[in-house]
Amino acid sequence: MNLNEIKRYSRQLILPDFGTKQQLRLKQAKVAVTGAGGLGCPASTYLALAGVGEIHLFDFDRVELSNLNRQFLYTPEEVGRLKAEAAAERLMEINPEIKVEAICEKVTYDNAFELLKGYSAIVDGTDNFAVRYAVNDAAAVLGIPLFHGAALMYEGRAMSILPGETACFRCVFPEPPPPGMVPTCREAGILGSVVGLVGAIQATEAIRYLAGLEIGLKDALLIINVESMSFEKVRVRRRDDCTACGREFVPKPVEEVCAVGGSEEQEV
Amino acid sequence: MEEEIRAYFGSRYHLVGVKLFREVPEGYPVPERRGKFCEFVMRAARGETILMRAEDEECHLSLVALGFQEPAYLDLQPRIQPAETRAVLVAPVEKIEEPDVVLMIATPRQVMEIATMLGGIRAKFAGEVAVCGEAVAEPLKTGSPNVSFLCGGARMLGGYRDSEVIVGAPPEVFLRVAERVRALQKTCGALCGCRTSELPEQVISALAGAGFEKGIDYFFGRVNSMNVRLYLNKDPSGRIEHLTVHFPVRGEVEVEEPLRVQRRGAWQDVYAILRNGEGFDIYTGEGIREVVEKLSRKIKKS
């Protein structure tokens, strides 16, 4: 590490259990963040600040004015720009010691298994069920740890998945809810600080995992309600018959449930 | 002495007594985990009693400054020489018998006032080994007060505010400060009262409700057929922490605790410093009249 890196990370390096070795592990890590929206902004920012050596941001969408109540990596001048590109630039300004790449491609069930190869971890910041299941199944097959998060209205959820070891998203939710049951954030509304909370939790779990430290959301779904500010950890179990991580992998693409106009993929 | 100094300066902290031992004494609480001397001083200023042994201290520089160890690589100054210290006790000054040094965590304004009372302080500081060296070792060596602006470690990990510095002095120096405080209160109570125009409306009406009229910097009234003046003292955060009650009495008097007497010519100034919340509430007026009446009954004219 150069003196700038040493100074930059010194406050986390003096934490008990977190030291040079852990920092070097972060530096060597390559993390995919799917979605550069409400979850992707805080998650990728904290990954970048902590010193994750290489971050790849997946998002094909463009910045809209209505994103700016929660997606803090963008300025009003950037409305219309590709999000992944704008975010990658901003993150490298914030931490010039790391590398951030923009991948402005749509993640689908067909390409996820190829696109997500070779990462140390995936932080999922999409709220589209089609992409979420694609990312989950790809992570399970590729054996890549996945840090799931979701937020809508006043509720947030997070869960950490270590393939072959802990329950995956599909173990807990084998099928997406029927169309119309879950409103997307475009219909339901979302507060920036709530997605910020969830994104920060995903990043914290990912950082601790990458550093080689124990993590708290294995086999557990964290359910946050900010109206009562309650944090509840629900135990979840691996399922032997899970089509993603069980005995036998069965490809099961999920239809995009969002029928409301505009782009199909939406970040929370 | 401590209560008077705190009340006068409106200090949020206890004065801290520091006592060095050449053998580890029995019967004092030791820290539950390692820390820094400057951090233990801050805890003592908030009321704790802590005995620090070499193994409790994680700052090597303070071990050298406090005389636990001789320096190994360079002549670090100021430090206690020879290095015969085995333990250091820190506690609110009233809880320590014969402290070697007394410390006061202070704001620049408080240091200014102390300096004027002492006829000046020649401070010597470098921002290095500060609470341990500059505020303890230096006054021990010279016998004179010193002001330290703390060091990087104390600022980062000691729990001090940016607006705070530390005065270290032999106990006699603080006794002189306490005498000056008493003298000032005797001759000029006005110095320690807030201007009533700066007080919250709530406090003024609370005192009016208790039967005390507003003066420029005090409230006045009659209790038990005696004149009484009430002064309010703000702490640095603006909270009103202390109420000073004065009864001017002609002729000789005998009083009971917590009352004290200062002679003012033919008059005796009988006064007590009370802490808000102890039997009365300055913000609601509740209990004020009763507390003052109770005090007035402790005055016996002889």
């Binding site: - | 090597h60 520089l61 690589y73 360079l74 060091c151």
Partner: protein, 81 residues
């Protein structure tokens, strides 16, 4: 020889930065480290704190360059963990 120029830094940062650099070197196989400081108390605290780490660091030499500037020469062993 790796050089860590800490002129302008104070305690406890001087030690924190030295520790991080030394650990990184330890994980990379060990080697010689020169630390330059212009905060005299660090000359006293860095060697002691390194010793306390229990990593087998050896302070080889302390050179005084001028009234406030010192060089501390440290041998960093290879870490096994």
């Amino acid at each position: 020889m790796e050089v860590l120029d800490l002129r302008g830094e104070r305690c406890p940062d001087t030690f924190v930065y030295t520790k991080i650099k030394a650990e990184e070197m330890g994980y990379a196989g060990g080697g010689e480290l020169k630390v330059i400081v212009d905060y005299p108390p660090a000359v006293e605290s860095i060697p002691r704190s390194l010793e306390e780490e229990g990593r087998g660091y050896v302070v080889r030499e302390i050179k005084k360059l001028d009234e406030r500037t010192y060089e501390i020469y440290i041998s960093v062993p290879k870490f096994e963990d």
